[in-house]
Amino acid sequence: MKVTVKIWRQKDSRSKGSFQTYPVDNISEEMSFFEMLDMLNESLVKQGEKPVAFDHDCREGICGTCGMFINGRAHGPISGITTCQLHMRRFNDGDTIVVEPWRAKAFPVIQDLVVDRTSFDRIMLSGGYISINSGGAPDANAIPISKISADIAMDGASCIGCGACVATCKNSSAMLFVSAKVSQFAVLPQGQVERKERVQNMVTSMDEEGFGNCTNTYACEAECPKEISVAHIARMNREFLKANLSG
């Protein structure tokens, strides 16, 4: 296979970026998309050029490090996977593939396709935890939790924090990301004590970081590699309203 990649190159956060076009030849369809980029980078290095910087680590879809816009879609053309899980069999010989970084005010570009997502950490920091110190926790089976609640909590907890929801949203909203965590703790007995402050603090932090609001387009759900449902957003809205009304 042979493809042409059109990639966003940007020296650093202060510089202006632009698209650069590179041909990549001798690709086999078993290769992952990143292995194709590795191949491109290897040839760039050999020519003494700087390789394309992109975020990646586990290459098995769980660490949430990778993320890029491929042909206008977050994590590429296939639903329910991260960019690192994308394989070249999903493209055709001769394709031109356009690759861009996540674009959102709250995710400034560091270099090429690498963006700074520490805004996500700062939201988590404002309340994405249950306050329990190490040691002294009650027996794990002391409080039974219905399988349904545990499953809903797990659905939210499976968020990998990649930022695809933000990148794909026309408002750059982080509602899916934040609601997945709020929801996880809202349905668990352990999360009840801090339930109100958690949703209030996390929503405040989300707004302060420059993320937009939700206008119910559901683009986030469609592009989430873990297929997290917008039902979590609905739950967060209820939680937020309840917390504010009850003072």
């Binding site: 700087k50 490090t65 110190n133 926790a137």
Partner: protein
């Protein structure tokens, strides 16, 4: 040098309790005067950093990731062991201890392993309290499953994403402490050197991976929780950035490296598909609960799996090990898979694979039941291979997964360098020559939540707080050495990329220091590796400069250390004239091709000391004393 393991006296089950009482404490008002530097924020590092901060210490935490949530602990799929005995199937702390020490082929310390089993139950309690959504049954209680090397169900899990959930739990504790200001987190920073002041570890040098800035940080103690070195093989299940540099640089500063040859090859990985393969993907061991491993009885059988009738299939693990069947420990399952392929029974286009078949369980319990339990793994497999495992058996092959070896630590998890603690996969302490499934998560969290926070106090209480600052000449000297090394890497300006040389190293390691080793190959590796190291320093090409984000420079620095470590691994493997756990020497096997230990001569930990760049390392022995278990030949028949 005499190695003092500092194992407390007294009966096994009382050692940890009495040790906790006998250790010195730092009083609550004084804790805030001490600063601890924690390098690495995966399970072990994040749990340690958060717990230390909860206790009142000042903590600075460092990670080369943008966020602690990216650490490779996140990729652990199957589960975490604990001796809760909730299913009532006969489990106990003693049984978990026994299984772990036997699974490690009697090359770990009794006292450490017992303590691990002892605190395993606290971990589950802690995690549930953090809001980790473990799998539950319809009565609302926690569910368990089985893993290799055990005949009880003691593994707690959260779908196929247990590592993710545990890491996010530790991360949530850590960010809570970041929010209080007790933990200062330095994202995208990589350790370059450990700074020793008067023989004690008191600081580190780091490189900011975005700006390239080199800076010094001083503290009262240094904790390394920097993971394993499996990527020395280039292809492994480790994440791309996982590396051994922190441990190796500590080794160069005098820390001993223990059992470097103990590498775990995981039996169930997706086989290599192309020459440009960048990493290997694991399929959780939990699949062996319900999947059946087989190869065609006929050599070179090219029929599709579904066309091979039942009586022409060899379910070789069930045949060889009727008691444990498909759930034999990892080292045994891996070696048998390799043996089947070597004998010509391999499947798939490369013939380097065996089948893992779910047809029986799908017929017995239905597709939905299987999807509920393993759905994400099946999807992952299909995305990578283009084959649907609900319809056709998975193809699997062993791959490098975990390193049991690591920096030598005493019972307190302190290395031989005072003030330097090592946790999680980065140390050597608990898994002997083979780690059982679902035990890595257990160890990482045990070290971080429940062991280090006690033992570090014993050291800190004996030192004056804030004794050291970065204006001392040792810091400047170390910074200069680091900068010089970086300049050296950038100035080679050769013809080969970092990855090209890394692949060559990987090939030497896989062929000669891999799943089966022998004297001649190891001797050859000890010649080949230094040659390749020379080639690296003469011909590597690292473009760009040091003062920006430079991913090739990061990789080059890590490879330079791997090239040194590789030789150490080969030397250790050559020294160990026995087969045990993941270390299989072809010269030492029974008639049935099982590993043959040599307890008379090799019941010890080999701890290697760096003696200089041009002289061979020196080995020190820590004899392993077994007072509670009898050393027997492992049998899983």
């Amino acid at each position: 040098m005499k190695l003092e393991s500092k194992i407390p006296k007294g009966p096994l089950s009382e050692k940890w309790t009495s040790h906790k009482f006998n250790m010195k404490l730092v009083n609550p008002a004084n804790k805030r005067k001490y600063k601890v530097l924690v390098v690495g924020t995966g399970l072990a590092g994040a749990s340690a950093a958060s717990t230390l901060a909860e206790l009142g210490y000042q903590v600075e935490a460092f990670s080369y990731h943008e966020s602690p949530r990216r650490a490779h602990s996140i990729a652990a799929q199957g589960g975490i062991n604990a001796a809760k005995n909730y299913p009532g199937d006969g489990d106990s702390i003693y049984r978990l201890f026994y299984d772990t020490i036997k699974g490690g082929d009697y090359r770990s310390r009794e006292a450490n392993v017992y303590r691990l089993a002892e605190v395993s139950n606290n971990i589950i309690d802690q995690c549930v309290a953090q809001g980790i959504p473990f799998a539950r049954d319809y009565g609302g209680l926690l569910d368990n499953r089985s893993f290799g090397g055990a005949q009880v169900s003691r593994t707690f899990y959260a779908r196929g994403q247990t590592g993710q959930q545990l890491l996010l739990g530790a991360y949530s504790s850590l960010i809570r402490q970041m929010n209080t200001g007790k933990v200062k987190f330095h994202p995208r920073t990589e350790l370059q050197d450990i700074v020793m002041i008067d023989g004690e570890a008191k600081g580190i040098i780091i490189r900011d991976l975005v700006t390239g800035e080199i800076s010094s940080h001083a503290g009262d103690a240094v904790v390394l929780a920097t993971g394993g070195y499996g990527n020395v093989f280039f292809l492994s299940t480790n994440a791309m950035a996982s590396n051994g540099s922190a441990a190796y640089r500590a080794y160069k500063k005098g820390a001993l490296f223990a059992n470097p040859c103990f590498t775990q090859i995981h039996p169930t990985c997706i086989p290599v598909a192309s020459g440009f393969q960048s990493k290997l993907t694991l399929m959780s061991e939990s699949l062996r609960n319900d999947g059946r491993i087989w190869v065609p009885k006929k050599k070179g059988d090219n029929r599709a799996p579904l066309d091979i009738p039942e009586d022409e299939r060899d379910y070789y693990l069930e045949r060889l090990y009727p008691a444990f069947g498909n759930l034999v420990p990892r080292d045994v399952a891996s070696r048998r898979a390799k043996e089947m392929c070597d004998k010509g029974h391999g499947v798939g286009s490369t013939k380097l694979a065996v089948y893992l078949d779910f047809a029986d369980v799908i017929q017995r319990n239905g597709k939905n039941w299987v999807a509920d339990k393993y759905g994400n793994l099946f999807d992952m497999y299909e995305e990578i291979t283009g084959e649907n495992p609900y319809k056709t058996p998975m193809r699997i092959f062993p791959a490098v997964h975990y390193t049991m070896g690591g920096l030598w630590v005493d019972y307190n998890l302190m290395s031989n360098l005072p003030g330097l603690y090592v946790l999680g996969e980065a140390n050597f302490s608990d898994h002997g020559a083979n780690r059982l499934g679902a035990s890595a998560l257990m160890q990482g969290l045990a070290d971080g939540y429940f062991i280090l926070p006690y033992t570090i106090a014993d050291y800190l209480a004996r030192t004056k707080a804030g004794k050291v600052n970065t204006s001392l000449p040792e810091f400047g000297k170390s910074e200069n050495a680091v900068k010089e090394n970086i300049r050296k890497l950038l100035s080679v300006n050769g013809k080969q990329t970092v990855d090209e040389i890394h692949k060559k190293l990987g090939q030497i390691m896989w062929e000669k220091v891999g799943m089966a080793r022998n004297k001649a190959d190891l001797e050859n590796a000890i010649v080949e590796i230094p040659k390749l190291r020379k080639e690296f320093w003469a011909d590597v090409r690292v473009p760009g400069s040091e003062d920006t984000m430079n991913t090739e420079l990061e990789k080059a620095g890590r490879l330079a250390d791997f090239l040194d470590m590789a030789e150490l691994m080969a030397r250790d493997a050559l020294m160990r004239n026995e087969s045990c756990g993941g270390h299989f020497r072809e010269e030492f096997q029974t008639e049935e091709n099982e590993a043959m230990r040599n307890d008379d001569e090799f019941t010890f930990v080999a701890a290697w000391e760096h003696t200089g760049d041009d002289s061979p390392p020196q080995m020190h022995k820590e004899d392993l004393v077994f007072e509670n278990v009898q050393l027997t030949t492992r049998s899983y028949k």
